[in-house]
Subunit: 326 residues, 3 copies
């Protein structure tokens, strides 16, 4: 399978990276090579990372990164192996550095390298409809179907026995075996993440991908955005109904059922065996436990612990909600 | 017009059907031919039906079916003409039997039999855009328009004076005269119905179709799923705005107005002259009366009687809601 | 740039217009030429306008129109220069007159005049994907991208440095410089506006367009309907996330951020620097001030003043909402 993750243009000399942030007063080896930019948890030696909120100090103190973009007030949380790079706005500086390593991850211009599938190696391997377009940087397993007018752009890897519907657009996605993606989905575009600036917002890079676990099904007209610094993940055997929107960095567990028109905002993490009724919404950066049931139409604005059943807006214990609303 | 209903592969010998359910201890004529599987109400002699909930015992006692898949605790509700077939899980067994009669109704793989409309009999009969694809099993009345990139798959019958937009996907649908279907709709795919099973959910067949009454309009980006054991119906002169989702088995009456982003869950039945504001949601298996008004954003979780105006979540009398929320 | 506004078939003699409304007892110069039909505010001498609700009497008293379709009870609000035309149903009569001036603005049949872009003047000017279709009445600035399967119908003008995604449908739209429209959007179709009539609703004309300000971004699967008698406007540097629905005549200010699955009903007007969380809904004909924040999932049913933060359904002050729902 192709590795659909974005290609790293690095390594770069630390001096080139510091220049992006207008930092020139550090006593370091200017020629040190920096391999990559990653989050606090996954960084290794010779990587650069970022730390912008106290919320992550438990991760900061154990990071293995060699450098960390951060602020004066947070720098003392970092371990000795990690040199702090003090900036005014951590996220803007992180965006600049990420753009250097992954220049193609900022905008999602249409992929002009696609070809009609009949002109590619897939023409005898895949069962396909009319007007199917495929990029050069794609792998597809055995026994797959691809519907009419579907476009498979850069950085896509599809497993065995998958059925992709018609009018689907895929990019930057890893789709495991036995997955069905129904008609009109758009999967793998950048998330709705940018720095609001008067006159002209600044888009930041999205270097994550979308990963869909095996045996899952994605309903018609769903949108699943790829992650910014991590991936967007749909677990194994999880089914999404029509018109669901999954924002960037969301992680959904296994064996979950998500009904029509649900929306899950950026970076929320859901456990296994979660059931969500139609039109429910989940705010960003929340943690939803295992075996949680969220009634249709609910609005979840705080974390939900394992085995809870919630309803309402803001969502609370379903028995309390029904009692209060008799 | 073509009959767009799924083709029945039967009749089958009752012994072949019993084998699917591992029933081998019945004293019956093993060679008896079974014609079809239907619901309790519409079954005829020599049909097989199913009965899984007390809620339907008023239908069960009058069924004309010769056999009924049911449980030990429900079997005594059935009339003498109907022999009970006792199973552990009625719906799973029903699914297996239905799959035998209607093998093509489980999955919605893209229809590889479609051809470019310019290669079909419709090329001189219909006014069409670029890249229109049509299956061999389709009828289209006089004076119709079909927009660019639209795909009309198996089992579709379109009346006279219809306008189908661009990027539309139709299958398993009966569209009456003077209907407009706007751009990007997906109509007639299977519903979001399956048996949740760890590791690998089991999809059940959807043998119903979508029926759209005359003079109706379906907005951009709507999804209307076909029924499982009955049809999904949009009544005459009913207008849907953009991004509406109508689940399987839903029935909407005549002269109704449904604003943008509304969602109606499976098997709910709505009367005539119903008005629903934007983003409202209706839970599954409900009955909404005639002349009902549902305010935008409401969440309806119980039946609504004729001539009611409701608002809120859970939706209640609109005057009460507004008084409580001053 | 092309002027994407609908082409006016007039002028017409006032006698021809009165005939549409069965008015034949006025003492006027039957040969007077009427130039156009416009709203109360923008009408000029020799235009006809309409006035159907007391709510607009401050506009009525200053209108420059020569004629106004109105009712017996409202006519005295009109200035001397404006002759009242008394009818039973102002909006139905307005619809008839508008249809005379703008006959192509009622229905959105697919545009059969489009050609493959490779057969047009744009083939060397624009960077485009496969199967792009463009009408003869379109302008596109320099340095633009147009994705696969995108359809650009009549009355579209696109500025410089714009990126239009794949599977997009545009019509009747003015898109300024540096705008991104992502995949699967439908922009510029008529709104969900019609007169409900048993058996067969009557669609009224939509002669407005959609105007998108520079530096804006429209997410995947959004629908933005054009205006009926005015335009639908998205201000400069305003970003919409996926699956947002903007109804006809809505005006959104500059530097605003609108998250996924939000819906804004017809004719509401939003200020600058507005932030709206996911799945929030705004009812029709409301005024939302500058710097307003609306929490995700909220339902706004009344005007919101500048600098407010609101939450809930009905939306109220966010601190009150959170206190009430502890």
């Amino acid at each position: 399978m192709v590795n659909p993750f974005f290609k790293n243009s690095g390594p770069f000399k630390i001096s080139d990276i510091l220049q992006l942030m207008n930092i020139d007063d550090l006593e370091i080896d200017n020629d040190q090579k920096i391999t990559d930019i990653k989050d606090l948890l996954t960084s290794e030696k010779n990587d650069i990372t970022f730390f912008h909120s106290k919320k992550y100090k438990h991760l900061a103190k154990n990071t293995k990164a060699s450098f960390c973009i951060t602020t004066e007030s947070l720098k003392n949380e970092l371990p000795e192996n990690c040199k702090s790079l003090i900036v005014k706005n951590v996220l803007v500086s992180t965006s600049k550095v990420t753009s250097k390593f992954y220049p193609s991850s900022i905008y999602d211009y249409f992929d002009y390298t696609v070809q009609d599938i009949t002109e590619t190696k897939f023409k005898d391997k895949v069962k396909f409809g009319k007007n199917v377009l495929i990029s050069n940087n794609v792998t597809i397993g055995s026994n797959c179907l691809i519907g009419h007018n579907t476009i498979i752009e850069q950085n896509v890897s599809i497993g065995d026995n998958c059925s992709i519907g018609s009018n689907v657009i895929l990019r930057n996605s890893l789709i495991n075996n036995n997955v069905s993606v129904l008609d009109n989905c758009v999967i793998g575009k950048h998330g709705f993440g940018f720095f609001p600036i008067n006159e002209k917002n600044l888009r930041y890079p999205h270097i994550g991908i979308v990963i869909i676990g095996e045996n899952s099904e994605i309903g018609c007209g769903c949108t699943i955005d790829r992650g910014s610094m991590s991936n967007t993940v749909i677990g194994k055997n999880t089914f999404l109904d029509n018109q669901v929107h999954i924002a960037h960095n969301v992680k959904i567990g296994e064996n979950s059922i998500i009904a029509g028109q649900v929306g899950i905002a950026g970076s929320s993490i859901l456990g296994n065996n979660v059931r969500i009724g139609g039109q429910a919404g989940i705010s960003g950066h929340l943690t939803i436990g295992n075996n949680v049931e969220i009634a249709g139409g609910s609005g979840v604005i705080k974390d939900i612990s394992d085995n809870s059943k919630v309803m309402g807006y803001p969502a609370k214990n379903i028995r309390d909600f029904l009692k209060d609303n008799k």
